[in-house]
Amino acid sequence: MSAREVPQGRLHTPFYPRMVALDRLNAWHTWKGYTVPDALYCADTEYFAIRNSTGVFDLTPMTKYRIAGPDALVYIDRLVTRDMTKIRPGRVAYAVWCNDAGQVIDDGTIFHLQDGEYRLCSQERHCAWLMDAALGLDVTITDETADVAALAVQGPTSFAILKRMGIEGLGELKPFGLMHVEFEGCALMISRTGFTGDLGYELWMDPESAGQIWDRLFAAGEISGIRAIGTDALELARIEAGYIMAYIDFLPAHATVRTGRTRSPLELGLDWLVDFKKPNFNGRRALAEENRSGSSWRLVKLDIEGNKPANHAYIFADAKGRRNIGFVTSAAWSPVCKQNIALGTVRMPHGAPGSQLWVEIFYQREMHWSRVMARAEVVDKPFWFPTRRGLTPPELV
């Protein structure tokens, strides 16, 4: 990892001045050292932009590592649980990586930028682990978090906006595909990825050209309802999409002290990402053993009766609340699904899809607390999975 000067204090992304100009709430927080908005004018409106028009989210603070060198594929394939030999250049893979005990360190996306060159994006920083994983391999790891500015452009009109902006060839880009284009003299990478479960793209660019691209994007999107959004709106969208979040739905193994507080990919419903046909990857031996002997936990998606969000609720096997089997990790009323939804963790063997559980919800009205025991059905599919998400080319709306 190359040595260079590290900026001190709380950082601003290249899009910060643009967001400040739109900001009405002055509600900010930090994300990996960067100032980012909770919401800019109204979290609800911003959420509806994702689902009905287009929301633009600044994901520059997302941790980005460049992985390159003759052993890059060997490296990546050993690092994560899924088979990376199938991910060709120009494709993106959602992946999860584990420690030797098969416990999840983090999840993220891996962009196969070109032959032998990858970008790994994740919420957490992983320098030490990635460097250790490079021992004995001919590969270089570069933290390029600050060198790449990124925007998520998400929603049903996102394709139309980008096309209007002048991006050529976007219609052929399939979900989890990426393309390199030159836009007004700026190198731009576009991937059909996102954290909203909707039609959407992510734009990756040099911080120098960030302002220019933002301006052209918003100019092109004005008549299609483009809106800058904060993390509150995104949080709701990702729960609807059934995406899990580090520190919320699971604890990164390296941040965990107590035994039994980590989770394996099998316990997070990510068994489809674990390829036991690979002879070696980090966590393989432990996961193979878990596969044989059974997991301790299961991540469940819950469709809960009523309309009171089940945040922090205990999950029970019975209506009387005698058998506590787990807890809710993320919960929300989903405006687009008109459902009371939640992600939770339950002890095995509970929580098979289709089974019925009970959630104990506490809520407050004018200071007084009330409690309901709400019926919850375990569902298999994401709560929100619109057809447009998978259409190639997407509809021009």
Binding site: D132, L137, P279, N282
Partner: protein
């Protein structure tokens, strides 16, 4: 698989030979591949000057496990009888000790030493029981692990309440505190300090140097002997025992890599490109070399790789060999005592001060030394009437600042000869040839990463349940078919054979299950 083997042992070090012999005795078809032209690894006798031969590394035998000797039926021809340690004094007031007896010190120290030796011997016995089997894994519910842990607890408790407390107090602390508390005589303190730190990157004030002292005492309470013909004759006898049991030993066959196919070991490939197939490969090489170089990190997991990579194994002990025209005149030393073990460690502070520069990548200007004249007991090692001197000299750090250049070697050799010159002023005039083996040379010649005797520092964080690393302490590596049988595995280095024997027992037990 036409010429497949039940097991291939990489390296014919003494542990590799012990392991292969025991595997073959149990009916396995075993192949041993040794990089060097001769068997024995670092346990060889070799000529360093015309007609002058010495044991290249270890030159005294005190740790060979009786069980190894018995199970392989080793006859073990020794040169001469019992050997004592003489702690050299510049003013001829040498202190001599062997077993629980010490002379040349005040009566109070004689009593204290007897008591000290008795207690240490009891603790060493306890330790030794557990050096002779695979250590239990921690954190499992497996019956054998729990039973072994219970046994360890029981053995501790059986010492009696006070002794158990003393043991638990001592096992982590340093030898300096203990010798200064118990003894008045500085020579005795110095010599015992040296005993504790020999071959390690530790000073007498470093933690767990009581543990290293107990480790030294474990197999034979520190009784010293020298094999007839040097350490190489022991290796030859081990090789003979192995061959007798049906082992094929091929020398001059450096293994380039351990072949991994479909996530498991499938054999080895030598530098010359020859491939040998086996589903079991037992590495006598050190853990770092085995995993990082022979297997390759791509075939194992990252956490394990990190642990292996972080094993502390930078050697700090050098070997100095002198060809002598005649025996130098050590003041106050009887003729017969030239066959004993002489040590230069005037007091415990001297040993610690010798260690200080090593922390910063410098060699000791005033080294501590263990001196023997092997040719006194075994005249065949030198031309008629002449002698060889074999010394272990500390501290000579592996990563010497500026590297082990000719000038650095010359300077350290000079420091050693000058240090001995204080006890034997005519030494320099006796010397006709010298050889200094620094840890860098030991690494090159014997393929031990860092040139560390023990294939990994002997310290509590690299001992028992966590040797070589946490989660892989039972000879079996987290790669199907791969085992360790060298000093880097439990219990550690020294010419003991325990690691090789334990590994063989573990493999046989696992493969019969």
């Amino acid at each position: 698989m036409t010429d497949g083997y039940d097991a291939i042992v990489v390296g014919a070090g003494h542990n590799g030979l012990v392991c292969s012999a025991l595997l073959a005795k149990a009916g396995k078809k075993v192949l041993v591949l040794e990089a060097n032209e001769r068997v024995g690894g670092a346990a060889i006798t070799r000529e360093f000057a015309d007609g002058y031969a010495v044991s290249a590394c270890a030159h005294l035998l005190y740790q060979l496990q009786p069980k190894v000797r018995k199970e392989l039926g080793l006859s073990l021809r020794l040169a001469g009888g019992a050997m004592q340690t003489v702690a050299l004094s510049p003013d001829r007031q040498h202190v001599r000790y062997a077993g629980d007896a010490v002379s040349g010190v005040a009566n109070a120290d004689v009593r204290s030493y007897r008591q000290f030796h008795g207690q240490m011997a009891r603790f060493a016995n306890l330790l030794n029981t557990h050096l002779n089997s695979a250590p239990p894994r921690l954190g499992t519910r497996h019956y054998s692990d729990l039973a072994k842990l219970a046994r360890l607890g029981f053995d501790l408790r059986r010492l009696g309440r006070d002794e158990m407390r003393t043991f638990l107090r001592l096992i982590g602390i340093n030898i300096h505190d203990e010798v200064t508390e118990r003894f008045e005589n500085p020579l005795l303190r110095g010599a015992l300090s040296l005993d504790a730190v020999l071959g390690t990157h530790l000073g007498p004030r470093s933690p767990n140097t009581i543990m290293t002292y107990l480790y030294r005492l474990a197999a034979g309470h520190g009784r010293l002997s020298a094999p007839q013909g040097g350490m190489g004759s022991l290796a030859e006898e081990l090789a003979q025992a192995a061959r007798g049991a049906g082992v094929t030993i091929r020398t001059g066959m450096p293994v380039k890599r351990i072949i991994v196919e479909n996530g498991r070991v499938a054999g080895v490939e030598t530098n010359s490109g020859e491939r040998f197939e086996s589903m079991t490969v037992v590495s006598n090489a050190d853990p770092k070399r085995t995993i990082m170089e022979l297997v390759g990190t791509r075939h194992v997991e990252t956490g394990f790789t990190r642990r292996i990579n972080n094993i502390r194994m930078r050697g700090n002990a050098a070997k100095l060999h002198l060809a002598l025209e005649r025996l130098p005149a050590f003041a106050g030393l009887a003729k017969a005592e030239y066959g004993d073990r002489l040590v230069v460690a005037p007091d415990e502070h001297y040993v610690e001060r010798a260690f200080n520069p090593a922390k910063y990548g410098e060699s000791s200007p005033q080294p501590v030394m263990e001196i023997t004249f092997p040719s006194v007991r075994d005249p065949a090692l030198a031309p008629g009437g002449k002698h060889v001197m074999s010394c272990i000299v500390q501290y000579a750090p592996y990563a010497l600042a500026g590297g082990w250049t000719d000038a650095a070697r010359e300077a350290f050799t000079r420091a050693c000869i000058e240090t001995m010159g204080r006890y034997a002023p005519d030494l320099e005039s006796c010397v006709t040839a010298t050889e200094l083996l620094t840890p860098v040379d030991i690494e090159r010649e014997f393929h031990i990463t860092g040139g560390h005797w023990h294939h990994g520092e002997l310290a509590l964080d690299q001992f028992m349940f966590v040797r070589p690393v946490c989660g892989a302490a039972q000879y079996r590596m987290p790669l199907d078919g791969l085992y360790l049988c060298g000093a880097g595995a439990h219990p550690g280095g020294g010419i003991s054979g325990a690691a090789g024997r334990n590994a063989a027992m573990f493999i046989l037990k696992e493969q019969s299950a």
